[in-house]
Symmetry: C2
Subunit: 372 residues, 2 copies
């Protein structure tokens, strides 16, 4: 099977090799050194400002989202949430569970955010904005400059769920003035799922220090204190943290975040060229490099496309759930994929959809035979 | 390195092979089947009564402890906590964070619980008891029959942290009348760390249904609902869940929980025979099969024994933290260890402690040469 899902994604050989190694005992200087370098490289790749910190939680990306809300925000806040899909809605539900006053900026699925969407909330006394920079459910990459300007103008704290976009799209935390960034192990880091990463800028760190959140496991004060010596309060997913270490080092050696983003962008562009002429529409007004969300225009169910590719072509793409189940599927461009893999997927898509692409990537019919 | 730590423990080859495989896309019938069988086998091995359910959380064992407290208990409860070490203290802190009224039954480190420790709390209107069946920090296996009797007599809900004892010591959830059992991936299951398992009996399930806990990520109502079809609310640690599956199947094929417990007990007995004559004292009044906690009697620092074995003998044992750092170290008997591994450790211990064992396991000096 070749994995074009949106996460977990196709792993690199080096990552898999570590997955096959025995888990070392971790209350050691050796493991602390690994963790301290993990923190250093994540801060560098996020473009975090001086004084920022990164912590690693054992849990899904959602654990990271909830940890950010619980530790950085409180009942005294008035929070704005950009809600254009299921991950925006998740931020709203997390605020709801913890009694944090919040309003949603609702956007139709697939829509980019614009000045006029923000205007009604300008100067209204909000204290923080939560956004999934890439709303993974619809493939929309939000205009972060617009949102950062709005936050600066209104003095809002900016919390960015960058889970499916970190190392796939540009992100400069310091330049944006973002206070929190959340990432995950299984997206562009291309490691096993199970670790969520948080980067906290100075304003967020101050709030963590001041807050007494109602959580034991997701308490960032404890994670930051132990993290200062390269450790964690509880037994972490040691193997995944070692995979992250190798991957961060390998990205650093290849030129850093920019080169990984460029590699992902090239794969996305190549794939999007290849679907020209197929009965497919881009679902997102503003696609991330990480994912192409597509709507079949010939009446075929998007979920059936997923099943066909899985059961008869050895390919995983990513179905949507809920209301979009039959109308949208997603193709990921993160992880150990190549243009040859794209060609195989394009050929299979041509078969399943009953149409042939006419775009650039489709110009080499010989390659289409790579379909397993 | 050979791993005698208390978790993560030495993995089996089959588990490592899965660790080296690519992570499959998981919103599929194939993965659901894996998860449903995981639930079935955990329920069987825990001796859970009919109608019980098991869920799998991506997180450390502490996430499972907090999920149990948050979802099953509430501010209307009056909770008793058996606190004989750092994991008992952790249950107290979790109750404290969530404003759940609780009292601790404090026991000196290494001490078994007795009738007289419980007597002051008899008939005092408590509603639940929390216990770490094996207080991992000191190696004490509590008398569960005594505690179960007390709970039955007083009508208490019984929540058992069985993280470091599941599949290492006998446990019959139905016979004990226990309502919740917590386990973890990295102890006797001998998989990578990162997954916590909860088994909920009918009374606990009713409470979960009734409660509205202040947590999004650790909400067991959502986990139970998705688990009914073999899925999870958030992206789980897929690889670790696949490791757990293989391991549960392999234990089932070898005769089930009883045979795995017996294997671990044999290793513990063999090791404990081997240390006779060494300047070591058993620290626990009532050792679990999982761990032998030891106190060096010749003045050498327990932490130095850990460092010596790690740096010069290729062996990880498990140091203690806090007040016990210099006086206690622990040797684990879970996972892919053999009596030959025990011999290697015994030989190295003999060297480090400057004393030779005279017990049974030490009777074959040739074996001592297995020391790497």
């Amino acid at each position: 099977m070749k994995n074009f899902a949106v996460g977990p994604v196709e792993e690199f050989g080096e990552t898999l090799a570590i997955g096959g190694e025995r888990t070392p005992y971790f209350r050691t200087e050796e493991f602390s050194a690994v963790m301290l370098e993990n923190e250093r490289l994540v801060l560098e790749f996020a473009g975090a400002e001086a004084g920022a910190r990164a912590v690693f939680l054992t849990g899904s990306g959602t654990a990271g989202m909830e940890a950010a809300v619980l530790n950085v925000l409180g009942e005294g806040d008035r929070v704005l949430v950009v809600d254009g899909g299921s991950f925006g809605a998740r931020f709203c539900r997390i605020c709801g569970v913890h009694g944090i006053p919040h309003d949603a900026i609702r956007l139709a699925a697939g829509r980019q955010i614009r000045e006029k969407d923000l205007a009604p909330f300008d100067g209204k006394g909000y204290t923080a904005l939560l956004v999934n920079k890439h709303e993974t459910s619809t493939g929309v990459l939000y205009d972060m400059d617009l949102l950062a300007d709005f936050c600066r103008r209104n003095g809002l704290l900016l919390v960015v769920d960058n889970i499916s976009s970190f190392l796939a799209d540009e992100f400069d935390m310091a330049a944006l003035g973002a206070d929190v960034m959340i990432a995950g192990s299984q997206k562009a880091l291309a490691c096993a799922p199970g670790v969520s990463v948080l980067v906290l800028g100075p304003r967020a760190l101050e709030r963590v220090e001041r807050n007494r959140p109602k959580t034991f496991y997701l308490d960032l004060k404890a994670a930051l204190a132990d993290g200062a010596r390269g450790q964690t309060p509880f037994t972490p997913a040691v193997g995944i943290l070692r995979q992250i270490h190798a991957r961060l080092e390998s990205i650093a050696a290849a030129g850093g975040a920019a080169s990984e983003i460029c590699r992902t962008a090239r794969l996305a562009t190549h794939f999007r060229s290849g679907i020209r002429g197929m009965p497919l529409e881009l679902f997102s007004e503003s696609p991330s490099n990480a994912v192409t969300a597509l709507h079949p225009t010939n009446g075929i169910s998007a979920y059936d496309v997923f099943l066909e590719l899985k059961d008869h072509h050895g390919l995983w793409i990513c179905p949507n759930g809920g209301e979009l189940k039959d109308s949208v599927f997603r193709v990921g461009h993160m992880g150990a994929l190549t243009t040859a893999d794209n060609e195989a997927l394009l050929a299979a898509l041509g078969t399943v959809l009953g149409g042939r692409g006419t775009g650039t990537a489709a110009a080499a019919p010989g390659n289409r035979m790579a379909n397993p």
